[in-house]
Symmetry: C2
Subunit: 840 residues, 2 copies
């Protein structure tokens, strides 16, 4: 079955045993077509299951035999409800609140954002320190081993870690290196695959979906955070072609989702605070702040040690001004980079106070990270780390470009767009391959280990055959030049590119003086790193794609810059600095792969510390986006599509005016009466074939054929809470219910409502009645049947709805529009295309 | 009558003769209460009149005798319809369009934004050049006159323009100066008062309202643009305490509104292009791009001549790099300053492509301005002007602040907030005074002249009594130091502050070395300029308040910085540079007056060219906003409130959950049948007492008491077009109508639909029937009666609605919610307050 395959995706990484008994059982009650099918597709209304199915269920899927088809939309994803559920309880609570209470809530929001910043910064600090120490440990082990080995083999020669002229020493060190890397990666892949598959990958697509309103299961849980953080440490230490920005953004989002709720469901700890914020609307706002804090923390750690030292010198000179100098530079970065990221990726409604809070969270996050780093690295309180990823500031001589270079930049943008499209296409095929064949967890772990080993081998081979020896200068930008097979006083450029952390390599490519790298080195490096990075993204490890993209781009950009004078043999070539082209190449490649033009411009501008490059960077990013979009969408969107996530773009497809709500909606709809029999409710909720999540409440069931008049909307989660507390009319009358159900009871159950199976309803109770009046949303948004799709879309998207009731002119319920009904339509090459909905 | 007074407002400046015959007549047919009144207020539905009343009408109001009451909401303002009117014609057109046509439209949008940028930049160039030349002319005349005078009086002495030691010469020059200034201001005030009163003031409140969805009459017309541009030139040349940023933003918006429509109604010229964009939704997007282009152009002209020269030197050195260097700096400014301005002030829906287009328009605008300026000032093509307001870049020594200064900055923010509150309160009283007593046009012109004369006199007096002589240094930042009564080799600091253009004064206050100004000078200057600026804002001249605010703030900020060492007598006081405090003071004052924190941070950061100050500037602006908001709202909001504009804030008042649509809506509603008698329509449209703009179309008028079922919504403007084209059922049947009415006919009439009075309908035609099915919006958004106000508000604001139909559970029309119904509620000191609606 085609639908199952949608579950075996790279990021969730699930896909194991073949026990499908549960599934068979579930589908046994389903009618096989006929009256229940409507307009050629399933008649289910908002068929979402995650909240009610036991969680081990998704793992029991059988692998599909038919190829994966991305023209499907999975029904397994629930939606988030960004529309406040205004039932009587809610309105009563709001009405009890004084203006002062609202002010207190506002202050609470600021406090939470501060906490988010502090925690996200601490996590970034933890990752940085752990990576540094583990990497140091790894190198120490290799060094020790080689020392012993070489000492044993050739006692006459002084062993030297930086110089492997012995073939035996080389192979030993290669094997040791590959083994160590694989071991780290195995650890990382193991925890991801076996403990929390959702922690795989960069996390940005998941957060994008979350902010868009799709509930990706387990994406903001504590366990995910722990696995993500450990996973990214192991991947980076394991020497994979990965970055840690995506995982940081995800971590920030998880922190935000946790902190804002004032409790941890995993730890079973409820602090009894921030209870007001226990709903999707509020939570989303905090998650976007958390994501922005993550962006800041990811790009907020100093990578260039010399920069740090320079600032140190200044701070040692007697004042703490340097930090505050740097702070100034953060501002625009926060304001634009982090905030724009959140806006570009998620929020659709501009809210000034929210923007300020996002900004605040970002600032606190970087401040925390840098304070901790300064304490860790040297005397506490000196606060001298520069913060901000800063691939080194471009000095003023570099900051020169002429109008004649603009065509070159545009050309580079086009190259970046095309290379990005190639990258995305390859990764797309690879991901489909993985979905089909690499769905067992052990296989996933093994693949990750294989990649680690191959990465190590390829690097070593490249270095072995590389003859690019560069003289070691005193002011060389390399922190740790490796001599290897080079003569004394020289170092191996290829090794520098491979051995350094990716961040340092990027910085080196930007800032090394002309002649540091020779063209062959760069060409080979680009080629190998390109494929390695492409292979790596989508592995069952937690890993980002920002830094690898930048590195690939910087390499070919520098190559472009070096080759330029040969192509245009003009004397006194005014734009001879290849570092500038490395920057543009990095922008082009990153833009070509992820296509986030707006926030990337600012992030890159601020990361390079020179706003001067703003215009060309923007130009390059725009070109890369336009060219790339012609071939394939961005990497994150590819993965979202492969997940069959019902992602809503900001506007309806241009040519969708043909469609009306009547064609789009799901129908018939399961409705409840205002006062409904408990048995009926339990039966409907238990029906696995129609896993409805929202039920219109109707006035009076007339004759069985005629739909009733709409008078409200109630959610599955609410009904479950009602059943759990046994809020039955009879019990209320006989005073068996000690107290009225309050909003607090719903908030306590949020967001993990128990499945219906866990609630026991006796046969007697099934005959009771339940009055939904107080709990339903009495004023759901509705549209008439003739409403065009763009109009429905606009309403749905602008308000962040989950269910939109379609009514006729008598206000009778005709259908229900949910996220999937809208996300099905997209503009393909041949006009409007429709995706199929899959069974869960 | 209280309501009339709402018309006599500072910015429209109308308010003349006492002919109220027309008005008496209009109200004669109005029922005096009873059944037509509902919940204590008028039963009118969307009572908006501007489009149907003849335009001279508003001028015939009588001045009110009772005091102005800002607890009113004027009904005279129409709303804009940011919701697409999806009737059958529109849907047919959209369905005919191919994906390629949509792509062409997108390209058209980019072209339009480019045109907006070019035209806005040209206008900014024109203003700059005109101001420069006229000011030069003025000084030449004074110089000539004094030369003659002094030559006549004391032939022995060499006359010197910079040195008025003769009391006679002084008084002559004072008088001449005052007269010349008054003459210029008279011209400026005359054209504003008599030709286009809406062009008065800064224009930002109007654009804010426009983007919010309120149609301020004549605000985006060509005439307004011409008057605004000429007006601001005359005000600036007239030496008033004004800036030109507000008017530039307004100009950009007018340009955008004009260009995007592809025609000029005023010039009766239709280019037959961009017809697709002739509706409010599209026009708004362009207007926000135009406003952003205006921001960029306003802050895009070089004010610091030395900066220019420095860049010149560089450019003379052989390459054009300097421009492109500067361009880099623009980027962040555009991206954030201009775009954030548009977002903060208007748009509620984040749209990435729109943001890019806004950005593009801004960039083109500054590029155009600077190209033209470079051509004008020196050889064309050298393109060396630096652009960006740049009050001079703070050199690195200044860029130092310590964490211990943060309390000082916060303190300055608080002072700025309080001073801003005082400014706004004074201006508020002044505006009420003006509304009550200065409503005659001649009075308005005379007041403006008086202010000009007083400004000149005060400046002169201050200079006369000033003894602040500063030694003239070679590297002094003053461009034109005035000697006046000082000894040779010295110049008068007070004169420098008063005589320079405000931009130059701000730059001087920021960058002059310590000791340039003495405390008395600064104190006196702050005091006088504060009151002058306060008196000036709201005059019937076109003038902005940005630069005066900055100037006041810079003056007291510098004073603060100078006095600081006396308050904290610490040796080696590390923060001795008063320029830094001038910058903070400017930020505090501007923030305290206008309260636009988000965009201002970026604008100021970029204008000073040093992102280092980002954090303190943000801190200062936030403090100023919080402190200021405690006392009174921002200046623009004060004026919007005094105009009784139904402005919708981004969220409903916090404590408004008490209210439901039933209480909020207007009822009963005038409805039409699907096929309605022409006579009925004409009568309803002609009824001056109930000037409805939107009419629900109902299925079947049942008995007279029972409301019908909703089946659509039709606008007055559509009905008028239908009547004009006589689209009657009988005529269609008898083939009298040659062709079917098309969307084009509606677009041609947009946005100035003729008044109903101009359409002649014969007695026979009154008996005809009109079929509204094809033209009405068949799917208006509806809410049930029980919907809470915040929910209604959210729907209304998120979708930019104009009419929201309230229905009962039978889908029968119960009421209509319009902008005024929602804008009436606001959170006062004592909880939720309700404004009254005034008769127009």
């Amino acid at each position: 079955m085609a639908n199952n395959i949608a579950k075996k995706v790279s990021w969730s990484g699930e896909g194991t045993p073949l026990l499908n008994g549960a599934e068979e059982r579930r589908y046994s009650g389903q009618p096989s077509g006929g009256s229940m099918f409507h307009i050629g597709r399933m008649s289910t209304v908002d068929l979402e299951e995650e909240s009610i199915m036991p969680e081990e269920d998704p793992m029991r899927r059988r692998p599909s035999e038919i190829p994966h088809n991305e023209k499907l939309l999975s029904l397994k994803y629930e939606s988030l409800d960004y529309d406040n559920l205004e039932n009587q309880l809610f309105l009563e609570e709001e009405r009890r609140m004084s203006p002062m209470s609202f002010r207190c809530l506002e202050i609470c929001r600021w406090i939470i954002c501060g906490l988010i910043g502090v925690l996200t910064g601490s996590i970034a600090f933890f990752i940085d320190v752990a990576v540094e120490n583990l990497a140091g440990l790894k190198y120490d082990v290799i060094k020790e081993c080689i020392l012993i080995h070489t000492a044993h083999k050739s006692l006459t020669k002084q062993p030297d870690i930086d110089r492997f002229t012995e073939a035996g020493g080389l192979s030993i060190s290669l094997i040791l290196w590959a083994v160590l890397n694989s071991a780290f990666v195995m650890l990382g892949a193991f925890i991801v695959a076996f403990i929390e598959p959702i922690a795989a990958g960069s996390g940005i697509p998941q957060i994008k979906c979350y902010l868009n309103g799709v509930k990706i299961p387990r994406v903001v849980r504590l366990k995910t955070l722990v696995v993500k953080v450990c996973g990214v440490i192991f991947s980076v230490v394991g020497g994979l072609a990965v970055g840690k920005e995506g995982p940081m953004i995800h971590s920030g989002a998880v922190v935000a989702a946790g902190v804002s709720q004032g409790r941890s469901t995993s730890l079973k700890k409820d602090f009894k605070i921030f209870e007001y914020f226990r709903r999707d609307t509020e939570k989303r706002d905090f998650v976007s702040a958390g994501a922005a804090a993550g962006v800041s923390a990811a790009f907020g750690a100093p990578v260039d040690e010399k920069e740090t030292f320079r600032y140190d010198a200044a701070s040692a000179a007697g004042n703490a001004k340097s930090l505050y100098q740097c702070f100034g530079r953060f501002i625009l970065f926060f304001l634009t980079g982090g905030v724009l990221f959140s806006l570009e990726e998620g929020a659709s409604f501009w809210n000034q106070m929210l923007t300020w809070r996002i900004f605040f969270a970002s600032m606190i996050s970087t401040f925390t990270l840098n304070s901790f780093l300064s304490i860790y690295k040297r005397k506490p309180g000196e606060l001298s780390s520069p913060g901000l990823i800063n691939f080194g500031t471009f000095v003023s001589e570099h900051v020169q470009y002429s109008v004649f270079e603009f065509p070159l930049f545009i050309c580079m943008g086009a190259i970046g767009g095309m290379l990005g499209a190639v990258f995305n296409t390859l990764n797309y095929w690879l991901t489909i391959f993985r979905i089909r064949y690499v769905h067992r967890r052990c296989l996933q772990v093994m693949e990750a280990m294989l990649v680690a080993a191959v990465t190590a081998t390829v690097s070593f081979t490249m270095i072995y055959f590389s003859t690019d020896c560069q003289p070691l200068k005193k002011e060389s930008p390399e922190e740790y030049p490796l001599q290897l097979f080079c003569a004394d006083g020289e170092y191996n450029a290829m090794a520098t590119a491979f051995f350094n952390t990716p961040e340092k390599s990027v910085s080196s490519l930007f800032h090394s003086p002309p002649g540091t790298y020779n063209p062959q080195t760069l060409g080979l490096f680009t080629l190998t790193y390109f494929f390695l990075a492409c292979w790596t993204y989508g592995l069952t490890v937690s890993a980002g794609v920002f830094i690898p993209s930048l590195l690939i781009g910087a390499a070919w950009g520098r190559l472009f810059g070096i080759l330029l004078p040969f192509v245009f043999p003009i004397k006194n070539f005014p734009w001879a600095d290849p570092g500038k082209y490395a920057l543009m190449g990095a922008a082009a490649q990153l833009g070509g792969i992820v296509r986030m033009t707006l926030s990337l411009t600012v992030i890159l501008v601020e990361a390079t510390g020179s706003v001067t490059y703003g215009l060309p960077i923007m130009l390059v990013l725009m070109t890369a986006k336009i060219v790339g979009d012609y071939f394939i969408e961005g990497l994150y969107d590819v993965h979202i599509r492969l997940q069959s996530v019902p992602f809503l773009h900001s506007e309806a497809p241009a040519t969708s005016h043909w469609l009306t709500a009547r064609e789009v909606m799901s129908s018939p709809v399961t409705c409840f009466n205002r006062v409904e029999k408990v048995g009926t409710i339990v039966d409907v909720l238990s029906a696995t074939s129609t896993n409805h999540n929202g039920f219109p409440v109707i006035m009076q069931a007339g004759t069985s054929d005629e739909p009733g008049k709409l008078c409200g909307l109630i959610l599955r989660s609410q009904l479950i809470v009602l059943l759990k507390h046994k809020v039955f009319v009879e019990r209320v009358r006989s005073r068996l219910c000690r107290r009225r159900l309050q909003l607090k009871d719903f908030r306590d159950a949020y967001p993990r409502f128990p499945p219906i199976q866990s609630i026991h309803v006796s046969q007697d109770e099934r005959e009771c009645m339940m009055d939904l009046t107080e709990f339903m949303n009495p004023t759901p948004y509705t549209v008439p049947e003739e409403t065009s799709l763009p109009r429905v879309f606009k309403l749905f998207r602008a308000l962040g709805l989950r269910h939109l009731v379609v009514v006729d002119d008598q206000n009778r319920v005709m259908g229900l529009v949910t996220r999937k009904d809208l996300a099905r339509y997209h503009l393909g090459k041949h006009g409007l295309e429709e995706l199929d909905l899959t069974h869960p």
